[in-house]
Point group: D2
Chain length 333, copies 4
């Protein structure tokens, strides 16, 4: 297996999907060991930091990449299998940022309120216990929460020559902020431009569904992923597969549209996998779908439709690539 290690210099960070030159060209099947900076661009390092005076809106959610995947052409399927996610620092940070988040007015849900109080929280990692520590700012409440690393942002260059901020989740993936993007998951994206131009970042040491305040336990991350390519078959919206589940992520506004996208896409997928007519697949989906919300804070909201494989006869999606990638991942350990 080809293996490439890459840790971007600060001036190599990219802040968009599309619009950037690749940092490297890789062959399908390559394993990448990547370092990514946290979404704050390391500007929040203490609970004393005032987010609005520390954060530079031009430099949020830096991505590592993009990578040019040899042979990837529009319409193909790019697969990213997450082999390992390891915190690259001993602490993560979270913050409330003025007019950003799910329970505050924003530049879109534009109201006449003053900003909510802004503040930072630092979560120390306990490596032995595999926890991150929450510490209340007011009072002495403390809590050790399981370390559950995930990637908030994984995506490819958009279609149509568009360039989107790395804060945006969309058809091309991007800032979907779903806790399902974790070790053992394979993400599938439709390739929109030659080389796919895949990048990732926004490591979260832990995140609840919805990412209510707008920021998870953000942290620099060491990610090991295997990148692979299937000619053709690119899905309209990002798909995820684990040993246990098939998933599709829809991202739009209002949130019911995100849900509708992910559900209609899943009806199509179930239809293909089990040769089900559309209304039959709609009926079956109705009784078996799980719907964990991903984010309600980004420029689009993301909702996941999730199907337990255990409920269904065994089938191989994408030619069995996920199982194959799992094997390859094990071989790296």
């Amino acid at each position: 297996m080809d293996v490439l290690d890459f840790a971007p210099e600060r001036d190599q960070f990219v802040y968009t999907f599309g619009g950037s030159q690749p940092v490297a060209t890789i062959r399908p099947g390559t394993a990448l060991r990547l370092w990514s900076e946290d979404a704050f661009n390391n500007a929040i390092t203490s609970a004393m930091d005032v987010p609005s005076s520390r954060l530079d809106p031009r430099f949020l959610n830096p991505q590592t990449g993009p990578f040019f995947v040899d042979g990837a052409e529009p319409g193909d399927t790019l697969a990213i299998h997450i082999v390992d996610l390891s915190p690259a620092r001993s602490w993560g940070a979270s913050a409330t940022i003025p007019f950003f988040g799910g329970l505050t007015m924003t530049d879109r849900t534009s109201l006449l309120h003053d900003a909510l109080p802004e503040a930072a929280w630092i979560y120390e990692i306990d490596s032995a216990a595999q926890t991150v520590g929450f510490q209340a700012r007011h009072g002495d409440f403390e809590l050790a929460l399981p370390l559950e690393p995930m990637l908030g942002t994984v995506g490819v260059a958009p279609a149509g020559g568009e360039v989107h901020s790395s804060l945006t989740p969309e058809r091309f993936g991007g800032n979907m902020d779903t806790p399902e993007m974790k070790v053992g998951a394979t993400a599938y994206f439709r390739v929109n431009v030659d080389g796919a131009l895949f990048s990732l970042g926004d490591g979260h040491y832990r995140q609840g569904e919805g990412e209510a305040c707008g920021t998870a336990v953000e942290g620099a991350m060491n990610s090991t992923v295997i990148v692979d390519l299937i000619k053709g078959g690119g899905p309209a919206w990002p798909r995820l597969e684990t040993d246990d589940h098939w998933m599709i992520v829809g991202s739009s506004r209002p949130m019911e549209d995100s849900w509708r996208i992910s559900q209609v896409q899943m009806i199509g997928w179930l239809g293909e996998l089990f040769e089900l007519e559309t209304m039959d697949a709609y009926q079956l989906l109705t009784q078996i779908s799980l719907v964990p919300v991903a984010n309600v804070v980004d420029t689009n909201y993301s909702v996941v439709t999730k199907i337990a494989k255990s409920l269904l006869p065994e089938r191989s999606a994408f030619g069995g690539l996920h199982a194959d990638l799992r094997d390859r991942a094990r071989s790296m350990m």
Copy 2:
């Protein structure tokens, strides 16, 4: 423990929350053994049934009740603990109904399309295996799915003299259609009128999150519940408690508002339980919240915010009533 058995005659079915005379008066602490008709009012009994010619829009989602709870006054907390849910028939039914459901145009999301194909599916129960059987209408795909009974509709009379269709989920509960309303759960509602006027119905033998096509595996149900009362403390929106989770259900449109309601309410609840300041509770919620969607098909959409008790120090909500009700439930077995 007082125990009351009640199976309504057909002419006793009610189709609203509010606006009906109670069928019985009960004391707090009473256990009810109730029979409820299915949401189709037993109009779909065969896969050959054409829903639009069988269903009478005036008589959908019949409720069993309402019950007048002695001593319940506006502002109080009504607790409904689900002791047991047992299918009252050997089969359940689901259907696609013209212009009803999550992936069709509706009377609200009003477009110019023709109706999707309407159809019925019958799910036979296998009591030994504890499954319900899905059978595709096209082709011969069959699937046994776990029987997981729940109640789609539980609620009390609304405030302000309003009367709402039993198809509506709202502050007063009603047609929330969350799979979390299952055996072992305690639901808490704010009492809005003297006697609370609690009713329930809409048994589901199984339902996915979102209830995409608009109807679960609908079935007549034998429900055993214990009804209890706490003076004062009525929550603004319905809450649910199990041995493992605290939950709040928000119901509104668009779906992000349902989510916002449930999240803000949970911040308040976490704040009370753990003496957390609001922004600290917001931060903590962000990292631990689960958000399983309930329904995206009713007159309001329902979203659940769900917190695992295992992540937090032990606390008793509502004076430990849930644990107490669990004990009482066990004593009935």
Copy 3:
């Protein structure tokens, strides 16, 4: 013409559509001269009043009625023609109310902000100039604005035994808050219960489109309306007709659904009036529709689709009833 004068006593005010006994029975064709209290229930009478301490949420938006219209049966069309609207006081009032309005968080768009400042504004009427006077609370800015009386709330009892707060706009009309509900307009509603049970209130001496802060220049009103009945033909959603325009009001959430409802309904109406096939009517509507927003503050948002008669060949809707009512109205002057 039968003429009935009615000014409710305070204990005759009603606060819902549906759920109340009629105050009088009238024959179709009756002219009503009605007095209605303002939406604050006269609780705001000075710019010094603090809304939250003056307003009683149980007694907002009192309606005058309901009237039982002889012969009105479900499915019929009730027509309300507005002959005259005259302020019943020399001043109107407006207010910002905590967590109510379009540019504040609300109980639905539930966020973590504190309430916006609450305040009252009193608008003195200058009868000679036919203006209402705006006076800024901070600084000495003053402005005379044209007096343009309208009714925020006109409606009939809902279908299905439902009872809705008079604060709600819906299929049955209600609190639509459109400035189009003014002298010279005929409103058409589908009758849902025997007698229709029509009521009105919520006089506005003036209102912008959207009613941003949640309250117009609210004032007690003397309304003269003629009530008439057409057997059958009840429209699914409220329609308005003036000498110059045909209009339909959709009320739902999110706002695009209100718009969709009013547009689809208008396509149907244009189709009937001009014998246009649906796609032709859709195309024509696209090029001629006006869309003035009504309210973005109530429990549903209301959007008007409005067609200028001058653009189209002459047609009579509802059998020419509007022109006839205009004649009858003139005869009363």
Copy 4:
């Protein structure tokens, strides 16, 4: 006055805001006489054309530009005054396109319906009468509608290195599709990149509010505009000024967010113009705002907040630039 004539060659068309090299550099104060292709890229020329087989999704809504404005820097205000709009062809076209438009399911409001019938309509211009002719496809209904030319799309390059399709309305302007963008209007945009990189296109010979079916009477257009620059003061969202009105366009989803944006921005503008405290401006806006919907079909929905100058004391916005541009426009006639 500098005057520049420019008609792009087909290979000079651009399909994005941002991401393209300027076609020319101009000094502030320059008048441009521009030709723009229609939004279909001239692919619909007959009522027999089948849109989905004629339209190439890569080449929709071609823009004329972008122009580099000398001295324009981020934060500045670019003013575009529309001096004249003249149809560049003797006919315009409209169409229903599968899964595009306001009353059909789309790629976002994703449902399970088949596409609505697709079709084209050709509108012949009667130059003498200044009308465009609607002809029903079914039956022989014909109608002459006033020619009312406007530009669907006017904008500048986005901030943050983003590149957006010319089908998108946003903060940077773009495809707002408001009938207010007509002769006599001055549009103000915040400059986001050096040179502003302004472009325009999407001529409409006529359009209703909402642009329901997704396409107006689309036509190639000869546009005369004067481009000017104010250092600093760039508005957060596009503003429009005519002799009679001040306007702000908000574009987002759901539609209430578009409305909120335009209303909050207008409160700010009224506050500046009349030295009003925020709550006073909110109150005043509530009573005087007009809200004509622009589009409910694009990737964002656009809503206009519109204030009649006649209701208010005289004030000059942007240093009186609009009046000045009107004078300069007259001098060109």
